[in-house]
C-alpha cells in the first residue's frame, strides 16, 4: 500500500477489517521506505475507513512503527478515529504507548514540520496534564497559539465560543516526536525545521543534495525554523557558514528564525552574520513582509552566478522527458498532444498573458530542471481529475499544478529507471506570473519543445 503525502504527513488508508492476519498485508518496510523519500516527517495510519480492529491487528502496525523509529526520526501513529476507537486503542496499550494518536488529519498536520499554515488558534484538552503541556509546547514551537483547557468543564465552556478556535484538539495523544531536518515550501521559500542541540550531526541530518537542487530549481530564500534549538556548537556554526557562502553563489539568502543565543556564544552570531546569514525573531517578520520577501528573492529569483550548460547525457534522455510530460498531461486530460518544434536556446514565451508555470528539479545520475508553461485553460483542464470539478480558484489550480508536475516527475523517474538511470526529484515550484519564471530560467540555455494540446500551446523547457 502506498501512502499519500500532504503537508509533511504520510498517510496510509487501510479499509475494512484489521486483524492479526490482514494488518501485516497492508504495510511493508518497502512502503515506509518509499514514503520516507517523499518529504514526510510523520507516518500515520488512518482508521477512518476501518470498521473493525483488534489488538493483534494494531500490533502489526505498532511493530512497524518501532522499526521506523529505530532508523528514522519520524512521528508515527494513528489518526482519523472516533471516541470508541480512541478508547479502544488507549485500553489496548495503556502505559506502553510510544506512538501518537491524532483524532483528525488536520490535528496531525499541526504537529508536522511540513505544515505551512502557522498562527492557528488551537484549543487543547486532555485528561492527562502532562499531555496538555506537551501539546501546548509543541504547538507553540510550531508557531501556533495553543489555549489549554484545564478541566473537562473548562473545555466544554471554551468549546461553546463559536469561531474562537481554528482547531480543537481532544482525544489525541503525543508519543515520541520526530527530530529530523524536515523541509517544506511556503511563499516560494524553503523552510527547514531544526531542533535540540546542533552539533556536527547536522551535516548528516541535513540533505545537502536536496538543498543544492532546490537552489538549482530557483529557490532563493532558505529559512531555518530554529525555535526549538537549544544551542549550537562551533561545528554546526561552521556548517551553516559554509552553507551560506555556497548559497551566495546563487544570490540566495539563508535566514534563521527564533534562534535564541542564551546558551550559544554571541561570537557565533557575528560569524554567521559575516557569512551572510540573517536572523529574525518571528517567522512572520519574513513571511508576512512582502517587500522583504521580494528583496530576499522569495518572489522572484536573482541572476544565477553559477550557470551550467546542458550536457550530452541529459540531451540523450530528452525523449524520455518529453514522454513523461506528454503522457502525464494526456492521461490527466484525455486529449492528444502534438509536438510542434524543438530548439536549443533560451526559453521563448511569445504570449505571456494568462499563463501559469511550474518547475521541478531532479538529481542523481543526471541532474537538471524541467519548466512547464501552460495556458491557464490547459492547466485547469489538467487539474480537473485531481480537483474533481471545474474551478477558477487560482491557489487551488496552482496547488494541483504542483501535484501534476509531481506526477510527471514520478513518471519520469520510472521511465529513466527502466533505462538504468536513477534520479530523485525535488519539490515542485509553481509560478502565477511568467516574469518570475523568466527570472529563474530566462538567462539559461536549454531545450525548448513547443507542444500543442487541444489547439493551445504548451512549453516544455529542459535546462541545468
Amino acid at each position: 500500500m502506498r501512502a499519500i503525502v500532504k503537508n509533511g504527513v504520510g498517510m496510509f488508508n487501510p479499509q475494512g477489517f484489521l486483524d492479526g492476519n490482514s494488518a501485516a498485508s497492508y504495510l511493508s518496510v518497502e512502503d515506509i521506505d518509499a514514503t520516507s523519500k517523499l518529504n514526510a516527517d510523520m507516518i500515520l495510519v488512518s482508521l477512518k475507513r476501518v470498521v473493525f480492529f483488534n489488538r493483534n491487528g494494531l500490533d502489526q502496525f505498532v511493530k512497524m512503527f518501532s522499526k521506523i523509529r529505530k532508523t528514522k526520526p519520524f512521528t508515527v501513529g494513528f489518526c482519523d478515529y472516533d471516541k470508541r476507537k480512541y478508547d479502544a486503542i488507549k485500553k489496548f496499550y495503556e502505559k506502553e504507548m510510544t506512538f501518537s494518536l491524532f483524532k483528525t488529519q488536520k490535528i496531525a498536520e499541526l504537529f508536522s514540520n511540513g505544515y505551512n499554515n502557522k498562527n492557528k488558534n488551537v484549543l487543547i484538552y486532555s485528561d492527562d496534564k502532562s499531555q496538555r503541556s506537551a501539546m501546548a509546547i509543541e504547538l507553540h514551537d510550531r508557531g501556533h497559539n495553543p489555549i489549554v483547557a484545564q478541566s473537562l468543564q473548562d473545555f466544554i465552556e471554551k468549546k461553546k465560543q463559536k469561531g474562537a478556535y481554528d482547531v480543537i484538539i481532544e482525544d489525541s495523544y503525543l508519543g515520541d516526536m520526530g527530530q529530523q531536518v524536515a523541509a517544506r515550501v511556503t511563499s516560494n521559500a524553503v523552510v527547514y525545521t531544526v531542533s535540540g542541540f546542533l552539533d556536527n550531526e547536522i551535516s548528516v541530518k541535513f540533505n545537502l543534495e536536496y538543498h543544492n537542487n532546490s537552489l538549482n530549481v530557483g529557490f532563493r530564500l532558505f529559512i531555518f525554523d530554529a525555535f526549538k534549538v537549544v544551542s549550537l556548537n562551533v561545528h554546526a556554526a561552521n556548517f551553516f557558514a559554509k552553507l551560506a557562502s555556497a548559497a551566495a553563489e546563487y544570490n540566495a539568502t539563508i535566514c534563521f528564525v527564533g534562534l535564541s543565543f542564551d546558551k550559544t556564544p554571541k561570537a557565533f552570531k557575528e560569524e554567521l552574520e559575516d557569512a551572510g546569514i540573517m536572523f529574525f525573531s518571528k517567522m512572520d517578520d519574513i513571511l508576512g513582509n512582502k517587500e522583504l520577501l521580494a528583496d530576499l528573492g522569495a518572489t522572484n529569483a536573482a541572476v544565477i552566478k553559477q550557470k551550467r550548460s546542458l550536457n550530452k547525457q541529459l540531451v540523450s534522455k530528452l525523449p524520455k522527458f518529453i514522454d513523461a510530460i506528454v503522457e502525464t498531461i494526456e492521461m490527466m486530460t484525455n486529449s492528444k498532444a502534438v509536438k510542434e518544434k524543438a530548439n536549443v536556446e533560451k526559453i521563448i514565451i511569445m504570449d505571456e498573458s494568462e499563463l501559469l508555470s511550474s518547475s521541478i528539479g531532479f538529481y542523481g545520475d543526471i541532474d537538471g530542471m524541467i519548466v512547464l508553461v501552460f495556458p491557464k485553460t490547459i492547466a485547469k483542464k489538467a487539474c480537473e481529475l485531481l480537483i474533481g470539478e471545474e474551478t477558477d480558484n487560482q491557489d487551488l489550480i496552482l496547488d494541483s499544478l504542483g501535484e501534476l508536475v509531481n506526477i510527471a516527475g514520478g513518471k519520469l523517474k520510472t521511465l529513466l529507471t527502466d533505462t538504468g538511470v536513477n534520479i530523485n526529484i525535488t519539490l515542485p515550484r509553481t509560478y502565477s506570473c511568467i516574469d518570475d519564471t523568466l527570472e529563474v530560467v530566462g538567462d539559461r540555455k536549454g531545450v525548448q519543445v513547443d507542444l500543442r494540446f487541444n489547439h493551445e500551446h504548451f512549453i516544455f523547457f529542459l535546462t541545468r
Binding site: 477489517f17 490482514s22 484525455n334 509531481n406
Partner: protein, 265 residues
Amino acid sequence: MITKENIEQYIDKIPPAPKVVQETVKLLQQGELVRAANVAKEDLALSSYLRNLVNKPIYGFTNEIKDIGQIFGILGVSRSLQTVYNYLLNILSPDNWEFFKLTKSNFEMFQAELSTSWSKILEYLNVEDKEIESAVTLLPASIVVCEALFKEHKKDVELIRATKDMDLNIILQRLSGYSLFDICEMIAQKWEMDLKIIKLVKASSGKEIDIEEEILEYAKWMHLLLFYILSKPHCIEAGLNDFLEFNVEFIEDIYEEFSKVMGLE
C-alpha cells in the same frame, strides 16, 4: 487515459450470455432443477465449472459431486442460479490478470467466498428471494471491469494515487463520466439479468441512497460483506482492498448484527 469511447467499445465486445446459460437460468427461475441440469450438461465448460466450484472446500461437501443434477439438487434453486451467474462472470474474467495480482483460480475462490457468505447473511435475515441471492454474483464484475480498463495504465494509476486519495471508481468517473457500477449495470442488461439484481449491486457501491428501502437495506449488507472479504490478506495482497472506497457511515447501523453473523470477536 480512459475515455467514454473506450468504455462503449468494451461493452460492445462483451458477448451476450450463451444460449445454454440463458436456458438454464430460465429453467432455474421456474424452479425446474432437473430440466435445468439436463440443459446445463450440454455445455461442457459450464458443467466442468460447476463441478470444480462446488467441490472446493468452502462449499463443505465431503464427497466429490460429479453429476450436474446432483449438484443442482444439493444447492437448491437459488444457489444453483447464483452458481450459473458466477460462471457467466467467469467467462468475462481474464485468463491472465495484470492490474490486480489475481489468478483465474483465486478469482473463483473470491466469488465462492462472496456467494457462501451472502447465503449465510440471507439465511440470518430470513430472505428467500432468488434475485437477491443471485445479486452477489454481479458484484465481482466491478473488479473484472477495473482489470480490463486499467490494466494498460497500472503505473499511471499508481502515480495519481500517490498524490491524491482517490479510488478507481472516482478516477474512472472523472475521466469518463461512468462509474464502475454503471458499467456493471450495462453488462447485467446485456446479460438480461433481473432489474432487482442491477439495482442492488449499484446501491452496494455505498454511493446511491435514493432507492427503495428494502434494496437499500440489502445493499448495506452487501457493501459490508464486500469489504469483509476484501480485508482478507490474499485480497489485500492482490490489490483489491482499495479499488473502491469503503463507506463506514453507510453500514454503521448494521455492523453489530454483521459481526454476530460472521462470528467476529
